[in-house]
Each structure stands twice: as C-alpha cells, then as structure tokens.
Amino acid sequence: MADTNALYQEVILDHNRKPRNYGTLGNASHRAEGHNPLCGDHLSVSLNLDGDRIDGVAFQGESCAICKASASLMTVTVKGKTRADAEMLIQEFRDMVLGKLDPNGDHHLGRLTVFAGVRDLPTRVKCAILPWHTLHAAFNAVASTSTEAEGDPMHAPIGNA
C-alpha cells in the first residue's frame, strides 16, 4: 500500500494551491503542449533559452494536484540551469517515479524527491511525469506530447530527438 500521506504533503499541496511560474512566456523560444487523455490533464510549457541556459520557463493548464505541483516544482528547479542539466533531471525524475532510482541515493533531484511516493501508485505516475515530458518535447521542438499511444515518450531514452 502506497503511503499516500507522504505524497499529499505540504510541499505538493502548496505548489498546487500557489503554482510558481504559472502562465505563458510572451518571448518563448520553445513551447509544447502535453496531454494525458486518460484523465484529461492538459498543460503547456513555454521556455526561453539564452544560448544553452534556461532564461525563463512557465507552464499553465488544467490538471490534478500531482501534475500541477510537479510542473510548478519543475519550473523552479530548471530555471537558470543549462539544457543538459535539465535533460539530466528529466531522466532522473522519470527514473525515480518509475522506481528505478533510489530517492535516498545519488542524484540531483533535491526536494523533487517529494514525488518519490508516486512510484507506488502506477495510475498516477503519468500525472507526475507529464510536465517533464512536455519540457522535453519543448526542447526538441515537438509541438505536443501525450502520455498515451505513439506519443508516449515514457520508454524512449531522454536526449536530443
């Protein structure tokens, strides 16, 4: 049984209530839309790359608390980082929620480990991962991504498309 008490903790509830970097960037160099057709989650990520560095990043959309908090914390974490660092975080985050990365081991996720409990809730993994896949799609100039069907990047390696 998943410890969902640990999942719906204050950090996640706070980012759900007051999402950071919520909106859309007018001067975005990259954008993408993400969909989860199973639950209707839908969000857009826009970002501005200054050379290789993420100068600005924002998201907006309709989703469950897990997805929204994941998106909010994602924007806070990747802002100011290089694209390569962000891609590494996408990979690590995905590995963590799929149970392939030990949240207590070596990684660069910091407080993103609040989402570690999702690994015990298979139906909610895609909620947490959607913002990260959308960010990945934006980097690679893919207009939209989905958690389902051919659009599902869940099992493809993270890297340049």
Binding site: N16, C39, L121
Partner: protein, 419 residues
C-alpha cells in the same frame, strides 16, 4: 444565520439484511491499507458471491470438457450445464425462447456482433442510426466504424442539465432514413434511467429496431425483454456478480435469423466444404469457437443467486442507498453532483470544487474507499457537463449505509487535505 440541518438517518428496509448478504461475499472482508474495504465501483465490475465461486470450482473440478462435440460423459455434462445456464439467463430476462440468448464475451462484444451481423447487412449509405449522448463508448464506436465503412450517419439525442434525454428531440431525429436505434437503459456515468419503453414503442411505430445497452440496468432492476419489446438487449456477466469474459446478447429470434454471422469457425456451422459452408441455427450461428463455458455456467449461478434475493428487493435497497448518499453529498458545501435525473439507478457522480477527481480517488483509496475516477468511457457526457472527469460512487445491493457514511467522511477528508 447558520441553519443546522437535522442529522440524516438512513432509511432501512425491514426485510433486507445487508449483513447476511455481505457474508456471502468473501472479498468484502478485505482490508485496504488497514481500513475496511468500501467497494463503491460496482458500475465498473461487481464482486462475486461464494455460491458463484463454488459453482465455478465444481465445474472445473468435476464437469469440464468441450461442449457440443464429443459423446463422452464429461462433454455431455459440460454441454448440459452450459445449455442450462442459457435457460437460466433466458428466465432472468424473460426471453421467449432460450435460442434468443447468445453468449458473448461481454456487452462490447454483443454490440459489435449486432453491428456486424445486422448493421453491415441492413444499414447502408445515407441511412441513419440514432444514439444518445449518454452512451458508453462501446455503444458509440462500433456504430462510428459502421458509418465510416458504409456512409451511414449517426444522429445523437441530446440531454438536459439534469442528465435526462430530451425526448422531443429523440422524436425529431426520426426520418425516412432512420434504420436503427441504440440506447443505454441506464447511464454508466450519471445513473440516469432512460424511458426506454416509450422510446422502443416510438421506433417500432416507424419499423425501426432498437438495441438496449443493459450493462448498467440488469444488475439493479427487473428486466423483462418481452415486456419492453426491445429487439436486442445486451449486458455483461461481471457487472452481475458473475465472471469476466461472459455477456449476453438477447435478440428476437426472427431478427437473429436474418442476420449474418459475426465470427466464423467451429460450432457455428452445420457443414463445411471448400465450396460452401452452411451456418448453424441460432444461437450457435453466433457462438463460433469454444465459448467461455465456465464463465457462462458461473453467470447462470449468479442469475440464480440474484433471483433468490429478488431483483425488486435489490432495487429497493439500492434506492435507499442512493437516496441516502445523495442527501449526504447534497449537504456538503463544495461538492457538486453531476447527473440529477428524476429517475436514477445506483450511480452517484460528483466533483469536489478545486480538487481533481484523480486526487479525490487517490485520497479516498487511502480511506479504503474504492470509487472510479475519470471519464467513465463516456466522454460525450463529460463534454456536455464541461468537466474533464468525475468521481463516481456506484452501489450494489451488498453495500451498506455505513459504507455511504465512509464515503461522505472520505470526501470531507479530501476537502480538509486541500483546504
């Protein structure tokens, strides 16, 4: 001024001992995360009572062989049990003849059978099929596939804000090209009980056959297909305390005989040469290959079990459950019931302000309460109510008033977490 409503008291049917019923269902003794299981996802699939489990075990341990084939003891025993199950289902829905009961793998399979067997033979370019906004995807997609293939058109009966069909609009959709009507008896997403008897009569007055999707009705009320006079009636075993992988297509014999087979193979033929195959008579014409014998026999046992309790008794208890749950939830600020039709069965769909249904579902699960969250395979209904998804509590006769209280307490807890 704050008005304090009097505490709600559940209405209890004096003749119905839910604790005795619950004792028949081993799975209801489960604990989930240390809390007693409160199973309110019966519209998705119901649980199985011990007599049905015992029947499956008896079949597999003492009666199994292939049916309609060999002359040995086991084959004859299995065949006889399988055909007896068909007669049990015939009685359960009051079909005129046992050959009007076709075993399918479920409701979806049954609808696809009618689409292929009737639709592809009798519905052509420019012809129209009338469906409703309340249909499950399984009564939409096969007809879309037919329309795509033949050039037929789908016409959709709209619903009002309560989730009731607009019956005047239903009438207006008919014209000289109307060839078929498909309508759900009870909406799986909202619980609306549709006025199918007058809808069937209206269609018959224009010589249009009607298929009723009874997946959400048969477990909750007495269904009499002769009284309804529907042409096809379909339902699933696993929503009826039976096994998965089995369902029923009832069809009027005269119509079934005119239809073309759906699947080809063994058992559905009288003779085969490479030049010509002669198809078997109904029901076998539509039961190609080895059927799910055990599942059919299990479903027969489930029909016996439900009949012994009585469908009217079941309907009365579920009415009490639904009324009590509706009253409880109506009193909760920030919770909105989706689907408020005058006549409903066993389904309570709701949304909690500011909380996505998937979060509601995960947090209720933490309390041991199993509900369905999502679009319920009825996206047109969700679009009509402008919600991406709902949470759905759906009841069975083995649910108790205490479990309704657990649902209400769980929703209050969800609101507290998100406050």
């Amino acid at each position: 001024m704050k008005v304090v409503a009097p505490a709600l008291q559940p209405r209890l049917a004096a003749t119905f001992d839910v604790d005795r019923i619950r004792a028949d269902f081993p799975i209801l003794k489960l604990k989930v995360g240390g809390k007693p299981l409160v199973y309110l996802d019966n519209a998705a699939s119901s649980q199985m009572p011990q007599p049905v489990i015992d029947r499956l075990v008896r079949y597999q341990t003492t009666q199994h062989a292939n049916i309609h084939r060999a002359v040995h003891y086991l084959s004859e025993t299995a065949t006889s049990a399988y055909e007896e199950a068909r007669r049990k289902l015939q009685c359960f829905i009051n079909a005129r003849e046992d050959r009007e009961v076709i075993f399918t793998s479920g409701t979806t399979d049954a609808i696809n059978l009618v689409m292929h067997g009737y639709g592809r033979k009798f519905i052509g370019a420019g012809d129209e099929v009338v469906l409703t906004t309340l249909e499950h995807h399984s009564n939409i997609v096969p007809w879309q596939m037919l329309a795509e293939e033949t050039g037929a058109r789908l016409r959709i009966v709209p619903i009002d804000d309560a989730g009731d069909l607009l019956i005047d609009e239903y009438g207006k959709l008919f014209n000289e090209r109307t060839r078929f009507v498909g309508v759900t008896h009870v909406s799986n997403a909202l619980g609306t009980v549709n006025p199918i008897a007058p809808m069937i009569a209206f269609a018959h007055a224009r010589d249009v056959p009607v298929l009723i999707d009874g997946a959400q009705a048969v477990p909750h009320m007495r269904v009499d297909v002769q009284d309804l006079d529907c042409d096809f009636y379909v339902f699933s075993g696993h929503k009826l305390c039976g096994p998965t992988g089995i369902g029923v297509l009832y069809g009027k014999a005269a119509l079934l005989e005119r239809m073309q087979p759906f699947k080809g193979g063994g058992d559905m033929i009288l003779s085969v040469t490479f030049e010509k195959t002669t198809f078997n008579t109904i029901p076998y014409k539509f039961e190609a290959g080895t059927p799910p014998i055990a599942a059919a026999i299990g479903l027969g046992a489930a029909a016996d079990y439900l009949s012994a309790i009585g469908m009217d008794t079941i309907a009365a208890h579920e009415r009490d459950l639904l009324d009590y749950a509706t009253e409880q939830i109506k009193r909760m600020p920030g919770v909105r019931i989706i689907g408020t039709a005058a006549k409903k069965a066993a389904v309570l769909s709701f949304v909690v302000d500011g909380v996505h249904p998937h979060d509601v579902g995960t947090l209720l699960n933490q309390e041991g309460v199993a509900v369905r969250t999502g679009h319920h395979c009825a996206q047109p209904v969700m679009q009509r109510f402008k919600v991406p998804a709902t949470s759905r509590a759906s009841f069975a006769f083995y649910n108790s008033m205490t479990e309704v209280d657990a649902l209400a307490a769980g929703i209050r807890k969800v609101q507290k977490v998100f406050s």
